[in-house]
Every structure is written in C-alpha cells, then in structure tokens.
Symmetry: C2
Subunit: 227 residues, 2 copies
DNA sequence: CAGTTTCGGAACTGTTGAGTTTCAGAACGT
DNA sequence: ACGTTCTGAAACTCAACAGTTCCGAAACTG
C-alpha cells in the first residue's frame, strides 16, 4: 500500500444527496440512462463485509466489485478511490441497536445493561469490531477515517452506557459521584480487547461477568444471588 | 500483500542458539568471514520501530535495512521472509517492567497498582500497543504471530495484575471471591482501547481514574481522600 | 598469501493491486 | 427510432514491494 492519503474532502454523503435536479440555471437536464443509486447501499454493504474479513490492506476493489456483481469501473464512477469507498462503507454501518428510542428502560441499572445483551447485538458488535481491527493501523494516519469510525462504532456504544448510568444516578440507584466517564468505557473496552487482542469470543457469560464482576460492584451494587 | 502465510516452523530463536561449534561428527569448521550476530538484536529493534510507526503492511524490508544501515540481502540471509523477521522482532520486545523479581510489593493493592505507573512503563506500553495495532488484522490469520504477540505483550501484563490481586486476597485485603480473571483485564483492556481506538494518550490521571474509579471500588476498597 | 564467506549497496525479477480505458449491450429521454 | 449515458466484463498502465542476484570490499581460516 504505502501512504494512503485519504486527503480528499470527504466522500460520505453519496446517499444523502439524491442527485438534486437543480433547474436553477442553464442545466441541460442530463440525457441517457440514469445511475442506479439504489445499489449504492448494497455495494457499501459488500465493502463492509470484505473489510471485516480481510482488513483494509487485504481488501481489493475487485473483491468488492465481484461480491456486488458490479464492474470495477462502476465503483470508480461513484467513489474516487479505495479510501473514499471505505470511509463511506464505514459510515453506513451506523445503524445498530443504539437508536435512542428503542433502548431498554427496566428500572434498574443491571436490568438495562443485561437487556442490551442480545444475540443480534453481540453479532453486530463483533462485526464492527472486526472492521475496526482491519482499520486499526490506518486510524492514526487518517483523521477522516478515524472520524467515520468514531461516529459509526465508538460513539453510539459509549452514549448508550452513559445514558444508563445517568438514569441510575437520577433515580438514586447509584451514587452521583461515581466515575461515569470511565465506567461507561469498561464494557466497550473490554469487549474490544477480548475480540481484537485475545481473539476470544464475546459471549453472554463474559458480558455478565463484566456487569456483575466489575461494573455493579464498582458502583456499590450487588448482582442478584440467583443467576 | 495477500495471504501472508507465516507457515514455517518458527523463526524465533536466532538469538538463543549461539552458533554451536559442534565438533560432534565430520564438521568442516566453516571458513571465511563470520556472520556478525551481535547485530541481530539491533536489526530486530529497528524492525520493531518501523512496525510501530508503519504497521505490518506499511513496513518494508528496505525501511528496516536502511534504518539498521544494513543491506537488504543481509536481512534475507538471516530471516527467510518478512513474516519471520516480524515474528522474531515481536518476540524480542518481551523484556519490560514485568520481571517477577522487580515488581513492587507495597503492602496494599492500591500501592502496588500505582507503583506500576511509571513514565517508562507508560512509554513502553504505548509502543507495544502501537506494534499490536499494526499487527491487529493479521492476528486472526497467523497463529504463529498471535502466539508471539501474546507471549511478548499480552501475557506478561495480565500476569502482573493477577499477582497483585492474589496477594491482596492472601493478606485478606479484598474478598477471596472477587472476579480476579476479569478484574486483571480491566487496565490492559482499557489502556488498549484508549490508545488504539480512542487515540487518546494514556497518562497518569487516566490510570489513576481506572484504579480509583473502577478497580478499587469493584473490590470494595476506597481510594484515599487526598490525591 | 589464497580461498571462503561475510558485508552493504545497487540492480535486477515477478507479482499484486490501484486506477483507466475500452467495449458491447441495456436503459433512459425525446 | 435515435442518441446519450449508464452497466458489467475484460484488457490495459503503472508503481510499489518481496525476494534474488551480483558486485567490490572487508574479515576470517589455514
């Protein structure tokens, strides 16, 4: 590879800009076959899949094209470079179980935390972690990419935990002076480490031991005796 | 790159085998200039440096050779491939502040944990983390490399923490039923996450907040009022 | 010393993959 | 219908890099 620049002024919003017709001034109203933008998300999804399996350097444009049954040229018509394709691909992973609406609200901190442990969440989280693994060495060199990764993967997860802690403080369940900043990072950090470094699987028992062995004791709560 | 195999039966012990003269049977006692093995560690150190700065895919043999003021051919005379060089380089990072002898023993868990926060330790840890970042996406594909990384970086750190907890249990400072396995991963995990993903610096205040905000509360201890 | 093997440096080979171009055919506007 | 612009597929260019080979000088053995 060598010095991947990621320099250009962001790709990112291929989706959000639905080809404004713009009859403002003398626009000739383009002729001919139209670009099929409905396939963009499909292609980006393929890029994410390849990225998760191969990492940034292992991923080739041809792999993505082949998986999407598209031509390499088609990809280059839509994204200026591999870097921009990847940035867009990462950005489109955003949607997960972190929509502020659909979060659990069980009335206890433990209940909320445990309610987030769903097979689908785990699977989704592991995939995101795999993508992050393959991007890890680039994060330092590309602020663009780091931002995209942050917005799509890191931030949402941290915000959810933070909300749970703040609600628990509001209802007086845990002390107001506990270190929410650090505590809300415990679970994302330790699942990431377990996946990326230890290469162990993140399963329900592990997540429960995080909650009952670290997080709850740290805020002065105890796990229920019967598990 | 593409399918880096790392298949060969370990490089690893270029250092440990000091070219046994072996006058056992009919050895012709090799002629000519001798290979200068005193430079091996120096070269491996250069490899580690490049690895930390560029990652596996960004690192080229020529970079390492140039930094070590050696010829590319010399490197290939000593290591069969880039992969083997990297495995050896990682293995030679082992030595750190984790020698079982020189560990602190202050009489309290907090004392021991805080005593490990030294500028040199932090620096050393960050470099190892950087190397690991650049290797992250390969770890899944190369058991050889994963083993080397584990032995040189991950294990030593986990063992130190584990020892501190066990001593604290032995002297009755913390309950015997606390989750040592998980707790001893808290600090390595969270420093790794902070470095690799969050790209924030691991400084003393952060490490103190880990100890006083998470680990100590989780085992039922309190930080001293005055910090 | 003569023969052998190392050394660093430079010139080589071969492959891989980013990005481009070409093309026949499909889908659109008029 | 007819020209335009899209499409996937394949053939290209070009640079980087792993790994090899060759060189003249240095260092060792006998």
């Amino acid at each position: 590879m060598r010095i991947v620049q990621f320099e250009r002024g962001s790709a990112a919003m291929t989706l959000a800009e639905p080809e404004a017709p713009s009859h403002t001034s003398a626009e000739p109203t383009k002729l001919g076959r139209k670009r099929d933008h409905t396939r963009d998300p499909e292609i980006l999804q393929c890029a994410v899949d390849v990225l998760a399996e191969e990492g940034y350097d292992g991923m080739t444009i041809e792999m993505v094209a082949a998986r999407a049954k598209a031509g390499k040229a088609t990809l280059y018509r839509r994204w200026a470079s591999k870097s921009e394709l990847v940035i867009d691909a990462v950005a489109c992973m955003k949607k997960g179980d972190t929509d502020p609406r659909k979060l659990p609200d069980t009335g206890t901190l433990r209940g909320d935390l445990v309610a987030m442990i769903k097979p689908h969440s785990i699977e989704d989280g592991e995939k995101k972690l795999k993508v992050m693994t393959g991007l890890a060495s680039l994060l330092a060199r590309s602020p663009e990419l780091a931002d995209a990764v942050n917005a799509a993967i890191v931030d949402p997860r941290a915000k959810v935990n933070r909300l749970f802690f703040e609600r628990a403080i509001a209802r007086g369940e845990i002390p107001a002076d506990c270190d929410v900043d650090t505590l809300s990072m415990v679970s994302p950090s330790m699942t990431a480490y377990r996946t990326l470094i230890l290469k162990k699987s993140v399963d329900r028992p592990f997540l429960i031991s995080l909650i009952d062995g670290v997080i709850l004791p740290a805020v002065g709560l105890r796990a229920p005796a019967a598990v």
